[in-house]
């Protein structure tokens, strides 16, 4: 149970949140035409006769878009409707060439499903929570108006006109900005795993309509407002915060919440009214007579299911159960599909390089990736996909540590050199003479020198000041220029100090 509350003058208020997320389907062509869909192309270069709604043009559903939406539905354990239908949503706007958007109101492709957001104490999510998803339907995107090209006229870019969107509609199951943020992130993770949407919110591939209402805990749902086209996780959370507080202020001031559409202003973090219910369009939905009902056969569904990758929840469980990773590490590595992929390639190569099973090197690889490598990449302003160190090179480095050739601290130095030069770890160790000393005789000689030179400290140690052990280790390592095998140093010191 979320404990997030707005503290009003009349007591605590609970916030109720539902999200409608428009996710652009990854596909080379549009939902009903063969036009390309690349982001950032010159205006009106990806427009077919159909997208421009020329007289007599007809839509034909693109199988790939339907397939991606079905796969997405399967990934959230949703009911897939083998019979669905397209409806026309009628309204006039200059970015809508047909004068209607082809969407699915009455019979969506995907029905009830759910996704689980993970417990996050710090964010105020005490336990895992299941968020219901009401439906996913597919629809066309509109074009884009450009108001800055001419002093008195607006220009229209139809590149986006007809691009396939999935509208993913949640139940009003979220109770805090953090839950909503976690839901959007998780959904984005799933979409990227499935490959049905690239999840690039800054490019508009994912946009959220945020429905917010407030109520006294235990009361009926209050009247909601819908804030349109919010395009980052942070903005979604800001929208909710602002909107919930605004609603509480209105209600406590004796006012009423009007069901309306609002806009989020990222510059101020506030929302403002766009249009009220009274001005709402009458969209005159009706089944698109240009399109037959969409009927999916079992073979198609089977193919969709078979093409699904391992999904984040399953992967996370496997990392903990089979690879023995900590829950934290497993969560970090599975949060993004690219990270998980990189890790799994690394794991395979690291195991091979050390002649071990993946499960035996998984902790080492995960720890190194999370606590060493991410930080190092971050400093360089790079990410995994632009990493100057390949998984093969990283596996070699891990093997050098695993076999005791270099110590963990030397490995840090080696990594830095690798990132700088792109050279292989083995070559660097060789060149720089960083190989670890495991020769007992050489270490013993140094230990004897140090103990002899620090007779007072030896006496104190023997009197019970055992914390001095670290001092002797440090001195020995220093004398060995950091290259002594720490385990051997420990053993010798323990034996000599008795």
């Amino acid at each position: 149970m979320s404990t997030y509350r707005i503290q009003g003058a009349t007591g605590d208020w609970e916030v109720v949140i539902g999200l409608e997320i428009h996710a652009q389907v990854t596909s080379n062509s549009k939902l009903f035409s063969g036009s390309a869909t690349a982001f950032g192309a010159e205006p009106n270069t990806q427009v077919s006769l159909i997208d421009a709604a020329m007289p007599g043009m007809l839509p034909v559903p693109n199988r790939e878009c339907i397939r991606q939406a079905v796969r997405t539905g399967m990934a959230i354990d949703a009911q897939i409707n083998k019979w669905s239908r397209f409806d026309r949503k009628n309204y006039f706007y200059a970015d809508l060439p047909q004068g209607y958007q082809i969407s699915q109101l009455y019979h969506p492709l995907v029905g009830e499903g759910s996704i689980t957001i993970e417990a996050d104490e710090k964010a105020g999510i005490p336990e895992d929570k299941v968020i219901g998803i009401e439906r996913i339907h597919v629809e066309q995107d509109a074009g884009k108006l450009m108001h800055d090209q001419h002093p008195t006229m607006s220009y229209v870019d139809l590149n986006r006109s007809g691009v396939a969107l999935m509208e993913i509609v949640s139940r009003p199951d979220m109770r805090s900005p953090a839950e909503a943020g976690a839901y959007v992130s998780k959904l984005r993770t799933i979409l990227r795993y499935v490959g049905s949407c690239d999840g690039n919110m800054d490019q508009g591939s994912m946009r959220c309509d945020v429905n917010v209402s407030v109520r006294k805990p235990g009361d009926e749902f209050g009247t909601r407002t819908e804030t349109k086209n919010v395009n980052s996780v942070r903005f979604v959370m800001q929208t909710i915060e602002h909107e919930a507080n605004r609603q509480v202020d209105v209600l406590e001031g004796g006012g009423k919440i009007v069901q309306e559409t609002r806009l989020f202003d990222p510059n101020t973090g506030t929302t403002r009214s766009m249009r009220s219910k009274e001005d709402a369009h009458d969209y005159r939905y009706f089944p698109d007579p240009d399109l037959l009902p969409l009927e999916l056969d079992d073979a198609f569904l089977e193919d969709c299911r078979a093409s699904l990758p391992e999904l984040p929840d399953a992967k996370r469980a496997r990392y903990v159960g089979e690879l023995g990773l900590s829950a934290y590490n497993a969560a970090v590595l599975t949060a993004d599909v690219d990270t998980a992929r990189w890790f799994e390639v690394l794991l395979g190569k690291a195991a091979a390089a050390q002649g071990k099973q993946p499960a035996d090197v998984a902790k080492q690889a995960a720890n190194w990736l999370i606590s060493e490598f991410f930080g190092a990449l971050n400093k360089l302003g790079k990410a995994l996909d632009t990493s100057p160190v390949s998984q093969g090179q990283a596996a070699e480095l891990l093997a050098l540590v695993g076999k005791g050739t270099i110590s963990g601290s030397i490995a840090k130095q080696v990594l830095e050199i690798m990132l700088e030069t792109g050279d292989d770890a083995g070559a660097i160790v060789e060149r720089e003479g960083l190989k670890q000393e495991s020769d007992t005789g050489a270490i013993e000689a140094k230990v004897d020198e140090i103990l002899a030179a620090n007779g007072d400290k030896v006496a104190q140690y023997k009197d019970g000041k055992v914390a001095l052990f670290g001092f002797f280790v440090g001195q020995t390592m220093k004398a060995m220029q950091g290259k002594a095998n720490p385990q051997v140093v420990n053993e010798i010191l323990k034996a000599k100090l008795g």
């Binding site: 006769l49 421009a52 709604a53 020329m54 007289p55 007599g56 043009m57 007809l58 839509p59 034909v60 559903p61 026309r88 009628n90 006039f92 706007y93 200059a94 060439p97 047909q98 004068g99 209607y100 607006s154 229209v156 009458d282 005159r284 939905y285 009706f286 698109d288 007579p289 240009d290 399109l291 037959l292």
Partner: protein, 494 residues
């Protein structure tokens, strides 16, 4: 030999193939007729004599080279101005598309050109195919070549494919394309003593045809006789991956299987089509048709289509609903007319453009359609109409368990005078009473000329068939044609 322009599709094609005359001679003859009649009949919105000549030259060259000729080789035709034609203005007889020249060719017209046909011009029609008299065209009404004896009163050539029917009847074209949404091929054919067939919904691609009501619109062939229609329809039909409602089925060789012998066939006479106040002449021609089909060997039985009385109301909900949405794209933004008054914003531009660009009948149907789809009325009108539509289809399905084809009059009267019915839109809608049910059920149906009324005006009979049974329809049509011996043609006054 009779004049070339008295010949139909089969005779022209065979004559060109045999070298009796060249395709260019044919095109020139029809081009001349088109030009001579334009002022009086107004059948064409645009004449394209050069296109006709060029296509003819190509056919003549092919023949000279000994190449195989297509099924329509050397036949110049008229194209209803609802079909997009590359480089030739396509208007749907509207002001809003006046001057619109497509960069693309409709599937149906392309198939006809591929079969060797040539384009005489774009034929007049009711604006956006909405009408039964051709009076809603922005480019003026088509005038029928037929007249009442002793009267110069201009008569309607029917609608919406009135340019097509008039052109064929007046020998301006041997054949023409039409489109049929609620009777727009069959009624004009009946009014002009010509033959027209609307195939099963989905036989002909709608790609590149300006949409009126998508779930009803279907292209078809119009010509002098049943055989010509069969030849032409074969060239027009076929699966088109660009139209999601197109039927993925091979096109039968209807022409080869044409036979007027109906032995073993059963013909149904729907009793609900005996509407109150039906003129005696219509009743009589229907009886005559029954006798002809019996003579051809068919057994004739009465059948019932109990929901017939709701068909017209159903049609005038569904068709306008779809039209109100289909015509939303004509907004002045991307092509066609744009009225941009000084200082106008987007909404003003929409209002001005559409107010100026659409005629009254089109506006009426957009308003009706918008109303029946609006919140609070949708279920009472649109949903209900769809249910009734399903019942009407079931009526036909039941009847076709019993019989092979149905025989009815095509229209409740002969052609009326221009201006006679256009005061009362409901009276105008009643013209479609016999044709609309088959449209709602998506069935193949045709009109064949059966005789003349007391005033010497043509009357037609309608044959309705099972889904995909164009052959049965054509054969019954052929049986009537052979017995009716309809040879009347309008006296030339233009």
């Amino acid at each position: 030999m009779s004049e070339i322009t008295d010949l139909g599709v089969a005779a022209i094609r065979d004559g060109v193939a045999a070298g009796t005359f060249s395709a260019v001679e044919v095109a020139e003859a029809f081009n001349a007729n088109v030009a001579a009649a334009q002022g009086a009949l107004n059948a064409f919105i645009v004449a394209t004599p050069d296109h006709a000549i060029e296509a003819a030259k190509a056919v003549d060259a092919k023949r000279a080279a000994g190449e195989t000729l297509g099924a329509m080789a050397g036949v110049p035709i008229g194209m209803k101005d609802l079909f997009a034609t590359t480089g030739v203005q396509t208007t749907a007889a509207s002001h809003i598309l006046e001057g619109f020249v497509p960069q693309y060719e409709s599937t149906v017209s392309q198939k006809l050109w591929d079969a060797g046909a040539g384009l005489l011009g774009k034929l007049n029609l009711d604006q956006f195919a909405m009408g039964s008299s051709n009076e809603s065209s922005h480019f003026g009404s088509v005038v029928s070549p037929w007249r009442r004896p002793g009267s110069n009163a201009p008569l309607t050539a029917g609608g919406s494919s009135g340019g097509s029917s008039a052109a064929i009847a007046a020998r301006l074209a041997p054949a023409a394309t039409g489109t049929d949404t609620g009777g727009s091929i069959r009624q004009p054919a009946a009014y002009t003593g010509t033959t027209g067939i609307k195939p099963t919904y989905g036989r002909c691609s709608r790609w590149g045809v300006v949409a009126y009501a998508s779930s009803l619109d279907q292209a078809g062939a119009m010509g002098r006789d049943v055989t010509d229609c069969a030849i032409m329809l074969e060239s027009m039909a076929g699966f088109d991956p660009k139209d999601a409602t197109s039927l993925e089925l091979p096109v039968p060789n209807w022409t080869a299987a044409l036979v007027g012998d109906l032995k073993g066939k059963k013909v149904g006479i729907p009793k609900e089509y005996r509407v109150e106040g039906m003129p005696a002449e219509i009743e009589a021609i229907w009886e005559q048709g029954i006798a002809w089909l019996k003579d051809a060997g068919a057994e004739v039985v009465e059948v019932s289509l109990p929901h017939t009385q709701y068909a017209l109301a159903t049609y005038y909900i569904i068709a306008p609903a779809e039209a109100s949405s289909n015509l939303a794209r004509y907004d002045g933004v991307r092509y066609g007319l744009r009225d941009l008054p000084d200082g106008a914003g987007l909404q003003d531009m929409y209002a001005a453009t559409r107010a100026d660009g659409f005629g009254p009948e089109v506006k009426r149907r957009i308003l009706i359609g918008t109303y029946v789809l609006s919140a609070g009325f949708y279920d009472a009108y649109y949903t209900k109409a769809q249910k009734v539509r399903a019942l009407i289809s079931q009526d036909f399905a039941k009847a076709f368990e019993q019989v092979d084809v149905l025989l009815t009059p095509t229209a409740p009267s002969a052609a009326f005078a221009l201006g006679e019915s256009n005061e009362d839109p409901i009276a105008m809608y009643l013209n479609d009473v016999f044709t609309v049910p088959a449209s709602l059920a998506g069935l193949p149906a045709m009109s064949v000329p059966a005789g003349l009324d007391a005033q010497g005006l043509p009357l037609g009979l309608q044959i309705i068939g099972r889904p995909l049974d164009e052959q049965g329809v054509l054969n019954a049509g052929l049986a009537i044609e052979g017995r009716a011996g309809f040879t009347a043609k309008p006296g030339k006054w233009w």
